[in-house]
C-alpha cells in the first residue's frame, strides 16, 4: 500500500471477507466446534496478508472497480489504477501534494501511533512482571504434571484481577497475589502456553494496527480473540470430567464482571461479561465432536477458502451509461493476453465504444477517453484515424495481419472491412476486392494489463485476394536471385479471436462484438511463390518451364532436402513448404510468374528468418537459393 487508494482497496477487500465470515460463523455458531470457529479466522488473515487485486483478481466483490469509481469521482482523474504491492503500508514515494496524499500520511501516523501504544503497554507490563514475586513450586507444577503441560516462570502480582500468560519467547505466567487461583484457571493458562496462543494475540494486534480505522475489522479482531478463549475452554473441558467441568463453568461465571485489559502478546482467561456468557453457552453445548465432524469442518473451510483466495476476474464491462462507473469497470477489466487486447481494440473500433477502448488503452490515454465521453455523449468513441463508425462490415469481423513479437510486445496490422468503397473510389462488388481499413498496432504490458497503441495512421486500401497472399494487404517478401530469375516468397499471417456465435434458424451467424479480454488467437498463414524474369531479352527463348520448391530454413540447421516439383504441379504443406512448376507461355517475361500459393489453418503464425529454395529451369534443378526478407520490407509494406 503506497497511497490511500491502495489502503482503501486492501481494507475493503478484507471487509468483504470479514462480513462473509461473520455470516457463516453466525449460521454455524452452535453447530461447529470452537476449534473450527477459531480456524475460520485464518481465511481472513490470509486475505489480510495477500495484496488486494493480486494478478488482476478480486475477492468476492469487484472492489478494484468500486475503488476506481470513487477515485475518479473524487479526483476527476482517470489515468490511474490502484495497485497494492504489499499488504502493509509503505512510505509514500513523493511529497504529499493533494488531500489524498495527506490522508495517507494521516493513516500512516495512526498505524504507527497504535503500534507504539501496543509496544509501550507490553513493555510496561513486562516491567511490572519483573517486580512480581516468584511463585513457589507446587500448584503450577502439579497441574502441569497432571495434564502433561509445559511450565514457565510464574509470578504473583498484587492488584491483578485474573491470571494471564505474557510473552512468546520468554513467557511469564502472572497470577493474582491477593487470592488463591483455582487449578482449572492455571490449567487454562498452561494450555495457552502449550499452544503458544500469545502469538495469535500478536497477529491480531498487528492487523489492528494496519486497519486501525476499520471498525468491522476491529470487531473481527475482538471475535477472533474471544474464539481463541473459547477454544482454550474447549481444550480444558476435553481434559476435565464430570463435576470439574461444571466447576470450570462456575469459575468463568465468576469472571463475568471482572475488568480486563488486552495487551498484545498476552492471553487472559477473563474477556468481558458478554464474551464470558457466550463461552458459558458454548460449554453448555460442549460435547466431544464425533469423528465425522472433522470431515465436514475441513470441507466447509475448503469451500470458504478456495473461492476467496482464488478470487475472480472481471470479464465484461458494466453498461450503466455512467462515465465514472463504466470507465472504471473498463480499466479494471484487464486484458490478460495480447490477443485479448488486440480483440478488444478491434471491437472498440468496429462498435465505436469508448469503454471497450478504455479496456485496452494505456493509462496515459484514459483521461482523453473520459473527455471524449463527455464531448460526444455516452460511450461513443471517435478516433481521428478510424472515424468510420457504422461503416465496417461487422459480419466479417476483423483480422490482425502479420503478428510478430517485438521488444517484449506484439505488433500487427488491424484490418477491418468497409461496407462500401470510400468516397471517390469504386468497388466492383467482388468480395476479393473489398475495401478495408488497415492500421499498424502494438500491444504491450502496462502494470499487469495488456494495452494497445497505434503505431501509425489508419489507411484505406483494396483487397487483392488471389491464391495465397492477399496482395492488397501488407505481407513479408523473401527473395533471392539465380540464373535469369528472381524468386520471391510472400508470406502473410492472419490472427483473430474466435467470436463466432451459434447460427440462427436461417444459419446466419454474426460475430459477437463483446471483447474477450483473455482471448487466444486462431491463426492462418498464406504464402505465394513467384518468379520474375530478370535476364536479357536474348535468353528468353532458353526457357520453357520454371519451377521452385521452398521450405523454412532455420538458422544453424542443415539445409532441408526439398521436394522436386513435377511438371505442372503446385502445392504446399502445413510445415510451410511450397512447390510449383509451370510452363511458360506467351509473354511470360512481362510480369511475375505464379508458381504456388495457398493457406494453412493453425500453421505457425511467426515469420521464419530464411527460406531454402531450389530453382528448376526446364525441369532441371538449376540453383540452390536462400530467400531472405527483402531489403526495407516489413510487415507494414
Amino acid at each position: 500500500m503506497r497511497d490511500i487508494w491502495g489502503f482503501l482497496l486492501q481494507t475493503l477487500t478484507a471487509s468483504g471477507v470479514a462480513l462473509l465470515l461473520i455470516a457463516v460463523k453466525a449460521m454455524l455458531r452452535d453447530k461447529l466446534s470452537p476449534r473450527w470457529q477459531f480456524a475460520a479466522w485464518g481465511v481472513l488473515w490470509a486475505v489480510l496478508l495477500m495484496p488486494a487485486g493480486l494478478m488482476g483478481r478480486y475477492c468476492l466483490i469487484n472492489w478494484p472497480m468500486l475503488v476506481e469509481v470513487v477515485r475518479s469521482a473524487l479526483t476527476g482523474k482517470f489515468g490511474a489504477l490502484t495497485y497494492v504491492t504489499a499488504p502493509v503500508p509503505l512510505p509514500p514515494v513523493y511529497a504529499p501534494a493533494s488531500l489524498w496524499d495527506w490522508l495517507y500520511i494521516a493513516y500512516l501516523t495512526g498505524a504507527a501511533a497504535l503500534a507504539a501504544k501496543y509496544i509501550l503497554s507490553y513493555v510496561r507490563l513486562r516491567l511490572a512482571l519483573k517486580k512480581g514475586r516468584p511463585m513457589p513450586a507446587g500448584q503450577i507444577e502439579a497441574v502441569a504434571d497432571a495434564y502433561d503441560l509445559p511450565v514457565c516462570r510464574a509470578v504473583e502480582l498484587r492488584g491483578l484481577q485474573t491470571a494471564f500468560v505474557c510473552g512468546i519467547f520468554r513467557p511469564v505466567l502472572a497470577l493474582p497475589a491477593d487470592r488463591e487461583t483455582d487449578s482449572k484457571v492455571i490449567l487454562h493458562e498452561l494450555l495457552h502456553l502449550k499452544y503458544r496462543d500469545a502469538v495469535w494475540g500478536l497477529v491480531i494486534a498487528f492487523f489492528r494496527c494496519l486497519h486501525w480505522c476499520n471498525p468491522l475489522l476491529w470487531l473481527c479482531a475482538d471475535m477472533a480473540s474471544n474464539d481463541l478463549e473459547a477454544l482454550c475452554d474447549q481444550r480444558v473441558l476435553e481434559r476435565l470430567e464430570g463435576e470439574d467441568r461444571r466447576d470450570y463453568g462456575r469459575i468463568l461465571l465468576s469472571m463475568a464482571d471482572e475488568k480486563y485489559a488486552r495487551v498484545p502478546g498476552t492471553s487472559s482467561m477473563a474477556n468481558g461479561s458478554r464474551n464470558v456468557r457466550r463461552r458459558i453457552e458454548a460449554i453448555v453445548r460442549f460435547k466431544l465432536y464425533p469423528a465425522g465432524m472433522r470431515l465436514v469442518s475441513v470441507c466447509i473451510l475448503l469451500v470458504l477458502v478456495c473461492p476467496i483466495l482464488a478470487g475472480a476476474r472481471a470479464r465484461t464491462v458494466t453498461d450503466t451509461g455512467d462515465k465514472y462507473i463504466d470507465l472504471a469497470s473498463a480499466r479494471t477489466t484487464r486484458c490478460v493476453t495480447f490477443a485479448g487486447a488486440f480483440d478488444t481494440y478491434a471491437k472498440a473500433v468496429i462498435t465505436g465504444r469508448n469503454d471497450y477502448r478504455a479496456m485496452c488503452a494505456p493509462l496515459s490515454e484514459q483521461d482523453a477517453l473520459a473527455g471524449s465521453w463527455s464531448e460526444y455523449g455516452g460511450r461513443s468513441w471517435f478516433d481521428a484515424d478510424l472515424s468510420h463508425k457504422d461503416v465496417y462490415d461487422r459480419s466479417l469481423g476483423y483480422g490482425i495481419y502479420n503478428l510478430a513479437e517485438n521488444n517484449g510486445g506484439w505488433e500487427g496490422v488491424l484490418v477491418l472491412t468497409l461496407q462500401s468503397a470510400p468516397e471517390g473510389e469504386t468497388w466492383s462488388g467482388n468480395s476479393s476486392e473489398r475495401w478495408v481499413t488497415v492500421q499498424p498496432l502494438r500491444a504491450y504490458r502496462e502494470n499487469g494489463r495488456w494495452v494497445v497503441t497505434a503505431l501509425g495512421d489508419a489507411k484505406t486500401c483494396q483487397r487483392d485476394e488471389r491464391d495465397g497472399v492477399d496482395l492488397g494487404l501488407p505481407y513479408i517478401e523473401y527473395k533471392d536471385a539465380a540464373a535469369d530469375f528472381t524468386v520471391r516468397l510472400l508470406r502473410q499471417t492472419l490472427s483473430y479471436v474466435d467470436s463466432r456465435t451459434e447460427p440462427d434458424v436461417f444459419g446466419y451467424s454474426q460475430p459477437d462484438m463483446t471483447p474477450v479480454p483473455d482471448g487466444k488467437f486462431l491463426s492462418e498463414t498464406q504464402e505465394t511463390v513467384l518468379a520474375d524474369y530478370t535476364g536479357p531479352e536474348e535468353n528468353r527463348a532458353l526457357y520453357d518451364r520454371v519451377g521452385v520448391s521452398a521450405a523454412v530454413l532455420k538458422s544453424g540447421e542443415v539445409r532441408p532436402v526439398l521436394r522436386t516439383p513435377k511438371s505442372g504441379e503446385t502445392g504446399g504443406s502445413t510445415d510451410g513448404s511450397q512447390w510449383g512448376d509451370t510452363s511458360l507461355r506467351d509473354d511470360w517475361w512481362d510480369g511475375p510468374i505464379f508458381l504456388s500459393g495457398g493457406g494453412e489453418w493453425g500453421g505457425d503464425p511467426t515469420f521464419p528468418e530464411l527460406y531454402a529454395a531450389d530453382l528448376y529451369l526446364n525441369g532441371e534443378k538449376s540453383a540452390e537459393l536462400t530467400l531472405r526478407p527483402a531489403e526495407g520490407g516489413d510487415i507494414y509494406v
Partner: protein, 193 residues
C-alpha cells in the same frame, strides 16, 4: 407407541422423497417440474416430525429454511430463464456452506435413527454414514473445483467438476434408497406393535 412409530415412518419417508426432489430433475424448458425447494420443504417437515427422536435435528431447521428459500427463489428465476447461481458470490458460498453442513448433519441423524430402529445386523445405518461421507466430500470437491479459476485448467477442471457433481448425486440417491429401506423397517415395527 404406534403413533410415535407412524410419525417416525412419515418423517423418514419425507426425508427420502426430499432427496428424490433434490437430485432428480425433469425440466420443461428451463423450469424443473421436480423443484429442489420442494425437497427442502419435505425435509423441513421431516425435521419437525423427527426432532422429538433426535434433538440435534432441530438445529437444522434454520439451515433448511435458508436452503428452501434460496432454491425456491432460483426456481422462480428459472421461469425467466435466469439462475441465482453465480449472481453474487458471497451468497453462493453461504448457501454452499449451509448445504454442506445440512446434509452432513441430516444424514448423520438419519443414521443414528437407523441404528436405533433397524433390525439387528442390518447395514442401513452404516450405509447411510458411508453415503453421507461420500456425498459431502464430493459436494465440497465440486464446489471447490467450480470456484477455482477456469482459465488455469481449461476444460479438464469443468469435466472433473461435472463428474464429481454427478457422483455426489448418485451418492445422495443411494442414501435415499437406504432411507426407504429404513422406512420399510419402521413400517414392519409399527405393524408388529
Amino acid at each position: 407407541m404406534y403413533e410415535s412409530l407412524r410419525r417416525l415412518t412419515s418423517g423418514v419417508s419425507q426425508a427420502a422423497w426430499g432427496y428424490f426432489f433434490l437430485h432428480i430433475n425433469i425440466n420443461i424448458g428451463s423450469v424443473s417440474i421436480l423443484p429442489a425447494f420442494v425437497g427442502y420443504l419435505l425435509m423441513l417437515s421431516a425435521i419437525g416430525k423427527l426432532s422429538g427422536e433426535r434433538r440435534e435435528l432441530g438445529l437444522l431447521r434454520p439451515l433448511c429454511i435458508i436452503l428452501a428459500i434460496w432454491n425456491g427463489a432460483d426456481w422462480l428465476a428459472s421461469f425467466a430463464g435466469m439462475s441465482l447461481d453465480g449472481l453474487f458470490t458471497p451468497l453462493d458460498i453461504l448457501v454452499s456452506v449451509a448445504g454442506l453442513y445440512f446434509h452432513f448433519q441430516f444424514l448423520t441423524d438419519m443414521a443414528a435413527l437407523a441404528e436405533r430402529y433397524q433390525p439387528q445386523g442390518s447395514p442401513i445405518a452404516r450405509r447411510l454414514i458411508n453415503r453421507r461421507t461420500v456425498y459431502v466430500t464430493l459436494m465440497a470437491v465440486t464446489d471447490v473445483l467450480f470456484s477455482l479459476p477456469f482459465e488455469l485448467w481449461d476444460n479438464a477442471q469443468t469435466v472433473i467438476a461435472i463428474l464429481c457433481g454427478l457422483a455426489s448425486a448418485v451418492a445422495a440417491l443411494t442414501a435415499m434408497f437406504s432411507l426407504f429401506s429404513l422406512r420399510k423397517c419402521l413400517i414392519k415395527n409399527a405393524e408388529s406393535v
